[in-house]
Homo-oligomer: 344 residues x 2
């Protein structure tokens, strides 16, 4: 029943490539009449073996279609050549660019990337990290739900870096919240807004500092501020929040992310609100659909791609980088059509 089951006995002598058993360094060694260890050396440390035999070995390897078996190599060396990125939800467009950035750096350096979802659950996240730990050379955690102590402990085994949120004891790559929120508040203030609601998601690490900062910045500008809690970071939750937004009487909204902003905008339009005059909305992230929306979304552009590349670069260089370094990337306000001068 197994796919490895032996074939009928009269099967013709098959070419190794055809049998389904990939060639090993033993096959190469036999073919050129040398010892496997010599083959290993020739293939891995060019120069530490006779030029002509190295040539023969490479030729044989190519002919057989040989590729090293990363798992076999990982055992003696402890290096797997792969990294993992652990995140709550692949579906969230925010993560697309981040993953892509990470993937590119990984591949450019000859590494493989494993992606794993946690469904936003701390226990699944812990379990996932532990399971993956022996198969990778390091991990990226995005929007982690684990507390700093847990992450610190976990990182004793393999290096972990936090992407898109700060973990005090881990190297982290994060957007410059102060820069972005300041620009957003200035923008709203310039347009005459004096009241704002923040559509937040409690229970997520990233939410708290964002809101605290927004609160301070609003206060400094004489803007009143309220927080409205979301159930989830989704279009639906954004739409559902409209009711409370209207009830609050604010003229402007800062959304947890663009998905939420999309939902809010759509619901508002459905209710016949005139946008952006009746309500100004600022998103967060600048996902690709932000400019497709109507009105096109004014949003804080998170440098997702670069967060991914820098974070991956950081894990790869983890040896040199044992301190919990923080990389802060610019967070810019992109002004489109969803914000306007206050009309009431």
């Amino acid at each position: 029943m197994s796919r490895d089951e032996p074939m009928a006995s009269d099967e013709p002598m098959a070419n190794p490539a055809r049998t389904g058993r990939p060639p090993t360094i033993y096959d190469i060694a036999q073919k050129v009449g040398l010892n496997p260890s010599t083959v290993s050396r020739a293939l891995n440390r060019p120069g530490r073996t006779n030029a002509s035999t190295e040539e023969r070995i490479r030729a044989a390897a190519a002919e057989l279609g040989y590729r090293v078996n990363p798992m076999a190599r990982a055992l003696p060396t402890g290096l797997t050549g792969t990294f993992a990125i652990v995140l709550p939800d692949i579906t969230n467009p925010v993560h697309f660019e981040l993953i892509r950035g990470a993937e590119q750096v990984a591949r450019a350096n000859g590494y493989t990337l494993i992606i794993s979802e946690t469904e936003g659950l701390a226990e699944i996240e812990r379990e996932t990290i532990q399971t993956l730990q022996s198969s990778v050379d390091g991990l990226l955690v995005v929007a982690s739900r684990l507390d700093d102590d847990s992450l610190a402990t976990l990182s004793w085994v393999k290096p972990i870096v936090a992407a898109n949120h700060a973990a005090p004891s881990l190297p982290s790559v994060i957007p410059d919240l102060a820069m972005g929120l300041t620009a957003a508040m200035d923008h709203l203030h310039d347009l005459g807004h004096r009241s704002v609601a923040y559509l937040g998601l409690s229970g997520v690490q990233i939410n708290r500092p964002r809101w605290d900062l927004a609160l301070d910045l609003a206060a400094a500008r004489d803007i009143s501020a309220v927080e409205i809690a979301l159930d989830a970071p989704t279009v639906e939750a954004g739409a559902a929040a409209l009711r409370r937004v209207r009830a609050s009487g604010v003229t402007a909204v800062l959304a947890y992310n663009d998905l939420v902003a999309h939902g809010l905008l759509r619901a508002a339009r459905a209710e016949g609100l005139h946008l952006p005059d009746d309500l100004s909305v600022i998103g967060f992230d600048d996902i690709f659909s932000a400019e497709l929306a109507v009105p096109a979304l004014t949003t804080l552009r998170s440098p997702l791609r670069e967060i991914g590349t820098r974070a991956m670069q950081t894990v790869i260089d983890a040896d040199r980088n044992r301190a919990a370094s923080k990389v802060v990337l610019p967070l810019e306000l992109v002004v489109r059509e969803s914000t306007a001068r206050v009309s009431r």
Copy 2:
């Protein structure tokens, strides 16, 4: 310099979990005073060992925080417990639901998923598959750029299944093109359209059958049809195609995917066209932003998520499933606002 370098000699006896070296079955064996092979048995074949010692072993394992090392297990068994999904471009929203579907099935069955990009290049794709081959139990290829022979050869080593496009010699999971395109053409015909343009992407396997079929269906309905070639499956390319769409004089467009449709719509709006009256547009895929667009996109909803789940299920079951089975999933027309009765 290495992270494995020995610490100062007066270092206190460290708990294994703290040293960074994960515990092995040898650690467990030693702790309970048994042979490693017994530990292996106890952990893997419940029942084939004395109930009480199995209990002691499990307790010790839990206490040490033991997890099997998948790579060490892969060597003797040949089973890695991971699958790979190989696709041109992670960034394409189309692939996200597919990945998510695959990921869920993989994880539900205890497997790990590797994602790898090919940049839409056949040679990178071949290289990637070969490199990954020894690290996985099977692969999913999405929108492959390789010809059927190559794929067939590659699949001698590890099972490969094609997702979202048909590969004659591979098990494939695909949307029901005939169903979807028939609905689309009927819809246009009902609205009075008698001319249509197909915005296609030459050089991609998926494109040809789609266009051939559309052509037949149009002819059968007395609709004239032209193909307009895209440079890429992107928003930008869709926008750039507007010029040729207008020159062609058609009243309706079938876009290669929703991204292209988005671009076309946006460009048309920017040029002051009245949508959908001046031009009806049908997208393909139904990515999440389709309903966010203005006008909201009428589109063929590709069952991406299910394609991912079915495809992953198929590789996992590859043993039982050696024939090149075809799974065809329904492709439904979702009518929104981007199509209207022809007005000229």
